[in-house]
Symmetry: C2
Subunit: 399 residues, 2 copies
C-alpha cells in the first residue's frame, strides 16, 4: 500500500460543506487501498481575518506572536477535517507542528522546514487512520511557533511526501497549471507536465500556483507533484523532471506577472564593490527577498543601482539604504508589474528576448528594468500595460 | 518583587480595543513593581463560534478533535495580547500548553491539570517580560490537546499561581461575588470575602463565577483568589479561608441556581446495592457528573432512584441506564432548576432547611427533589419558579 500525501488549499476547505466533501474524496482514495496523509491550509479567508485582527492591535505586529496567531487557522481546519472523517466512519487524527515535531528555522513568517518525526504519522497510518497535518506551521528549537510564508502548506505537503516516501497531490481551486494565469488571459492552455525549473521560475515570479520552496524540495528529492482541482477527477498537471519532453518544440512554457514588488533606485552611488556588497548583505540579513537587480556602469566614479523588493518590506528597506545615501538619491517606484516568460526551451532557442522586446516596443509598452536567467526573461513594466503584454506575448508564442 | 497571576475572561478580551485596554492595565501592574503572568480565555464568543463550526461538521464531534479545535481560541487571544503589550513597549511573550509543558489527564472536554514546567515562565519573567499563557488547555501524555471545561482558564490561573507561588487575580465582567446572581435578583449584595467551601458549593451549583476545580486547587494550596472587574479599581471579592470571619452572623452566604441539568428517575428497580453501585460506577466511568441523588426506601423488594446529570449528557445516560431497565421504567424531567442555598454558618445554625421548605410551600413552589450537605441545601424546582424562589429566600435571609 502506497502513501499519498494530499494537500487541500484554503478555498477547498472554506466551509463545513466543503470540508465534508473533501472528507468524501479522502475516503475514496483510502478505499482504493492507499494510506492517506492530508495537509490542510486555513479555511477560506481565515488567515486574512487573523491578519486584520493583528492590524487592529498593532501597526507593526510582533513577528513571533503573529506566527502564533496565524498558525491557529490550520489547527482549526485540520481538527474539523479529522472530525468530518470520523463522522463518516473513517478513523482519523489531526496533528499540529508540535505533535509531529515539525522543526523549522527561526525566521518568523518565512521559516524553512528543518525536519519532522515521521514515527507518529506512520503509527497512525498503520492503525488505519487518515492522518491530517496542519500545514504552514513549524516550531523553532526554542519552542516558538513559526510559519512558512503564504502557500507554505504546499511545502509541508512535499516535505511530508519526501519524509514518508509517498506520492504528492496538491489540490486547489484551479484544475492544473496553465501557460498563463487564466484570470489574466482567458485563452491560456493547461499543461500536462511542467519541469520543476519552469514552475519554480513561474512561482517565484508570482504565478502563485505553488509555494516555491515546495518545488525546490520536490526537485531535490525527485518527488513528482500532481496539481489538480479539489474533489474532482479532471486531469491536472504533473510537475517533474522533463528530460523526456520535447522541450525544443516551444521556447516558452508559461508567463507570470506580479504586482507585489516595488523598485528602488539609488543614484550617485560611489562605484565601490564593497559598498554594493554591503547593501545587499544588509538586506539579506533582514531576510528581504531582492528580485531584479540592475547596476549601470559607473561614470566618473559614480553608478546607479536598481532592484525590486516586496512592497511589504518598503519601510525596512528605506531604513537600510538610508544608512548609505541621502533621501534625495533614493527613488521608489511602486507602479511596476514584473512580467516574466519562462521555458526550458529558451536554453536552446535564441532570440526569445529580442522577440519580446520588439513586441513591447511596437505596442508602446515601456520597459523599466530587465533581468534574465537561462530559462527566464523578466521585464518590469507599468501596471496598466500588464494585460496587453500578456495577451501579445501569449498569442505570439501560442501559449 | 512578587509574582501576580492575572486571568482575563472572554468578555474582557472580546475586541482589539478591549485587548489594548487589558494591556494598559497589565503595564500598570508591572510598573508597580510586580512580575505579571496573565492567563487569557478566548475572545468573546469565539468558543461558541468554534462549537457551532463543529456542529456543522458532525452531530457528535470527536472529542479529541473538538479539544484541538477549541484550544485555538485561547491561542488567538494570547498572541494578540502579547502583541498589544509589545506594541505599547512592554516586552511580552505568549505560551500555549505545549510550550510550557502543561500536562493534563486524558478526559477531553474536562481534563485535569497534572503539572506544568515553570522554568520557561520564570526565565521570561526574569528577562522583564509579561508572560501570557493560553488558558483552558492542556496536553495529554500522548500529545493530544485537551481542554479543562467551561471556565477552565480560572483553573489554569490558580494552578499557575500555586506553581509560581504568586498571588491570583481573576478579572471578569462582574465586580465581584454576589450573594445571588444580580441578573436573577437585582438587590443582591457584593461580598468582601467568601470561603472556598462556600464558593465551591455555589460554583458547582451553577453560580458560574468561577470554575470549581480552580477553587479546589486554591483551597488545597491556600492561595487567596481575588475576583474583580476587568481593568477597574472597584474593590472585588477575595476567596479565602474564613476562620476569622463572623460566620454565625448569617447562616446563608449565597444562593445559586442552575438550569443545565435534567433529572432521571428509574422506577421498579430491584433493591440491590450492587446494582445501584454498578449504575453509578458506569456513569462515573463515562466522566458524567451526577449531582443530586435520591433513593427511596424499597417496597416489596423494589425501589425508586432519581438523580440529576447535565443535559448535554442525556444520550449517553440513556445508553447507560438502558442496560439496567426497560424504557417504560425511565422518566426524564428536563423542566428542573436546581436552587441552592450555601453558607458555612449552616453548620451552627439549625432550621435553615425547614425555613426554606416553609417559604416554598407557602408560595406554592413545588419541591421535586432535595439534597443537602453540611453547608448547602439544594432543591430541584420547576424552572418557572426560579425568580420567585430566589427573591423570597434572599429577602428572608437578607442577602
Amino acid at each position: 500500500m502506497g502513501i499519498i500525501v494530499q494537500k487541500y488549499g484554503g478555498s477547498s476547505v472554506g466551509s463545513a460543506d466543503k470540508i465534508r466533501n473533501v472528507a468524501d474524496f479522502i475516503i475514496k482514495k483510502k478505499n482504493e487501498g492507499n494510506k492517506v496523509v492530508v495537509v490542510v491550509s486555513a479555511m477560506g479567508d481565515t488567515t486574512d481575518d487573523l491578519l486584520s485582527l493583528a492590524d487592529q492591535i498593532s501597526e507593526n505586529p510582533d513577528k513571533r506572536e503573529l506566527d502564533a496567531l496565524l498558525s491557529t487557522g490550520e489547527m482549526i481546519s485540520a481538527s474539523l477535517l479529522a472530525m468530518a472523517l470520523k463522522d463518516k466512519g473513517c478513523d482519523s487524527v489531526s496533528y499540529n507542528a508540535f505533535q509531529i515535531g515539525l522543526k523549522s528555522t527561526e525566521q518568523h513568517g518565512r521559516a524553512l522546514i528543518v525536519d519532522m518525526e515521521e514515527k507518529i504519522i506512520l503509527k497512525s497510518l498503520k492503525e488505519g487512520k487518515a492522518v491530517i497535518v496542519c500545514g504552514f506551521q513549524g516550531v523553532f528549537e526554542d519552542g516558538s511557533i513559526t510559519t512558512l510564508g503564504r502557500g507554505g502548506s504546499d511545502t509541508t505537503a512535499v516535505a511530508l511526501a519526501c519524509k514518508l516516501k509517498g506520492e504528492c497531490e496538491i489540490y486547489t481551486d484551479v484544475s492544473g497549471i496553465y501557460t498563463v494565469d487564466p484570470r489574466v488571459y482567458n485563452n491560456a492552455k493547461k499543461l500536462d507536465y511542467i519541469d520543476y525549473e519552469e514552475i519554480l521560475e513561474l512561482s517565484s515570479l508570482g504565478a502563485q500556483v505553488m509555494h516555491s520552496r515546495s518545488i525546490e524540495i520536490g526537485q531535490k528529492y525527485g518527488i513528482p507533484i500532481y496539481v489538480g482541482l479539489s474533489c474532482s477527477n479532471i486531469k491536472g498537471t504533473i510537475i517533474k523532471e522533463t528530460e523526456d519532453m520535447n522541450i525544443e518544440e516551444k521556447p516558452i512554457t508559461g508567463l507570470a506577472t506580479s504586482d507585489s514588488d516595488l523598485s528602488v533606485t539609488i543614484s550617485n552611488l560611489p562605484q565601490d564593490t564593497d559598498l554594493i556588497s554591503s547593501i545587499f548583505q544588509n538586506i539579506a540579513d533582514r531576510k528581504i527577498n531582492v528580485d531584479m537587480i540592475c547596476k549601470s556602469t559607473s561614470i566618473l566614479g559614480y553608478t546607479q543601482l536598481s532592484f525590486t523588493v516586496p512592497k511589504a518590506d518598503l519601510e525596512e528597506i528605506k531604513g537600510i539604504i538610508g544608512k548609505y545615501t541621502s533621501k534625495k538619491n533614493i527613488f521608489i517606484d511602486e507602479d511596476i508589474t514584473k512580467f516574466s516568460a519562462v521555458g526550458i526551451g529558451m536554453k536552446t532557442t535564441s532570440g526569445v528576448a529580442a522577440k519580446i522586446f520588439r513586441i513591447f516596443s511596437q505596442n508602446r509598452i515601456e520597459i523599466k528594468m530587465i533581468t534574465t536567467s537561462e530559462i527566464r526573461i523578466t521585464v518590469a513594466i507599468k501596471r496598466k500595460d500588464k494585460e496587453k503584454a500578456v495577451k501579445l506575448v501569449a498569442e505570439e508564442f501560442n501559449l
